[in-house]
């Protein structure tokens, strides 16, 4: 029996990894092209820093990248490293997995008879992105971003944008290793550096994806899914159970609506909405990837914030529809 569980976990791991890797490749390829063609600094710094316009702009950018969260993380990292304002990058990170054409089309295809879900899902996803981005905007970059990213970002921000310590200026010493020199001269050399940088990034993210898929696959075969669905009609418990299920299953946001179709009739409408809103943003598979953008405390903060907002969205939906 244990061998059965292990071999089944291994198969689920392979399925998750092989299916997610192409999306990661797309994301890193886009980030590499952006690094090569978009000059860091001035252009991206023109994106709005406004608490409302920033996330809205980031969410709108999601339409240009119809990928799931695996593809969005490297692009967000590149946006931040190139000096993009935090609200825009966060809007992209949290809203794009829900607000992209493929996800909206799959939601429509899976739930043609539940029109409320067609607007409630993107609306709740956008609201979550706005609120989390706004909450993060009150923090200093140094308090939320991963150290390596913070250092890359410091090189592309105006001199007055960060404090002396945040910029790791030589006067007070550097807390982190000296970064690699930026590509500067010659088109060929620039291309070479872009390819090598993208290669290193893709390998690092793939290793994190492997760890995330391994945890998700093990939990999928050991945590009985019908236990979670057993609390289907309890308003609050069903929302919490489906949130947990969304985090564990780690399925791509472009097809999670079809998965939700399988248990839509057994759970409350709020639980269904919470599953469809939280899953694309937070799941075990992408937890390691988030570590390349956020520091640990910020990851906990983001996870809790998204969880609370998904719970509120689910509760409010149940209040209106039950």
């Amino acid at each position: 029996m244990v061998l059965d569980h292990l071999s089944t976990s291994w198969s689920v791991f392979q399925a998750l990894f092989l299916e997610a890797l192409p999306f990661l490749l797309i994301g890193v390829a886009l980030a590499t092209m952006a690094r090569h063609w978009l000059p860091p600094g001035p252009v991206l710094q023109c994106l709005p820093d406004h608490p409302l316009l920033g996330p809205l702009t980031g969410a709108a950018m999601g339409f240009a990248l119809p990928a799931c969260e695996c593809g969005n993380v490297p692009v967000t990292r590149q946006l931040l490293a190139s000096g993009s304002p935090l609200p825009t990058a966060m809007g992209f990170l949290f809203a794009a997995p829900v607000l992209n054409p493929i996800v909206l089309a799959s939601t429509w295809a899976a739930f043609p008879d539940q029109p409320w879900l067609l607007w409630a899902r993107p609306a709740a996803g956008l609201a979550m992105a706005l609120l989390v981005a706004t909450l993060l905007r009150f923090q200093k970059d140094a308090a939320i971003l991963a150290p390596n990213l913070l250092q890359e970002r410091g090189f592309h921000q105006p001199a007055g944008a960060g404090s002396l310590l945040e910029r790791s200026a030589g006067l007070v010493g550097s807390a982190y290793p000296v970064p690699r020199p930026l590509p500067s001269t010659g088109r060929g050399k620039s291309w070479r550096l872009s390819v090598l940088h993208g290669t290193d990034e893709l390998v690092k993210l793939s290793s994190l994806l492997i760890l995330g898929c391994a945890v998700a696959a093990l939990l999928q075969t050991t945590l009985p899914r019908d236990w979670l669905l057993a609390v289907g009609q309890a308003p609050t418990l069903s929302v919490l159970a489906l949130m947990l299920l969304a985090v564990v299953i780690s399925v791509c946001s472009s097809v999670d609506a079809f998965l939700a179709l399988g248990f839509a009739s057994q759970v409350t409408p709020g639980a269904l909405l919470a599953f469809l809103v939280l899953g694309p943003v937070i799941d075990l598979k992408s937890l390691g990837l988030y570590g390349t953008v956020f520091c640990r405390s910020a990851m906990v903060f983001v996870g809790l914030s998204c969880g609370v907002l998904a719970l509120l969205a689910g509760q409010w939906t149940n209040f209106l529809m039950l």
Binding site: W10, L25, L196, L208
Partner: protein, 238 residues
Amino acid sequence: MNQPGPPFPWSRVRSAVARRRWTPLALLCCGITLVQCWTSGRLQLLMAPAFHGLVIGAGLGLLVWSVTALVVDRPRRSTPWRAAVLVVCTNLLIVLAPPRSSFSTLARHRPPARLEGLAAGFALPPEQRDLVDWVRLLRGSPQPQLFRGEPIQVEGFVLVTATGEHHLAQLLVRCCLADATPVQLAVQWPDGAPPPQRDQWVRVEGEMELLETSDGIQPVVIAHGLTAISKPRQPFRT
């Protein structure tokens, strides 16, 4: 007359190993793994056909990317070699240890599949309906009793339920094995013979019966004949 293309840069690969250029090699492994999964037909065991093109494209893209990186790579001061070693080892394991999942274990604690949106087999004669067609027909019909006594010939794997019953089942997959959900029918196995083993693929011939239970009407296949079959190339419905 076509000129032969440039030879594959094996010397670069050997040189990369010697100089510990782990990251391009790790990507090369990823690309080879994806292409190998495609050529060996393993993708059909793991995910819905809609995603095969994506995986194949990604595999070829990774091969091109990694060869380019091998060609332009120069010895560098630091590379994420630990991550690269993990990626290389994982890909080797994937190639060497193909998936051998127990569908029964996978499906045991999962809710039954919803069948909306699938192509229906209503118009087919009873003997030509597959297991999914039958379940969909029985669930959707206001008078399932009308199907009592109809001949049935269906294939699937043996699913041992949480209560220990041996059902005949197929998996429905929308994306990959992670979201697989079972479609199943209870079976009254032929008299005198033990039910087939868990995960065994079988063809069951018999007739449809509907039993009145406390939970309502439960369809049961009364099996007259039982044949062991090999696992299909794509062992689930999409």
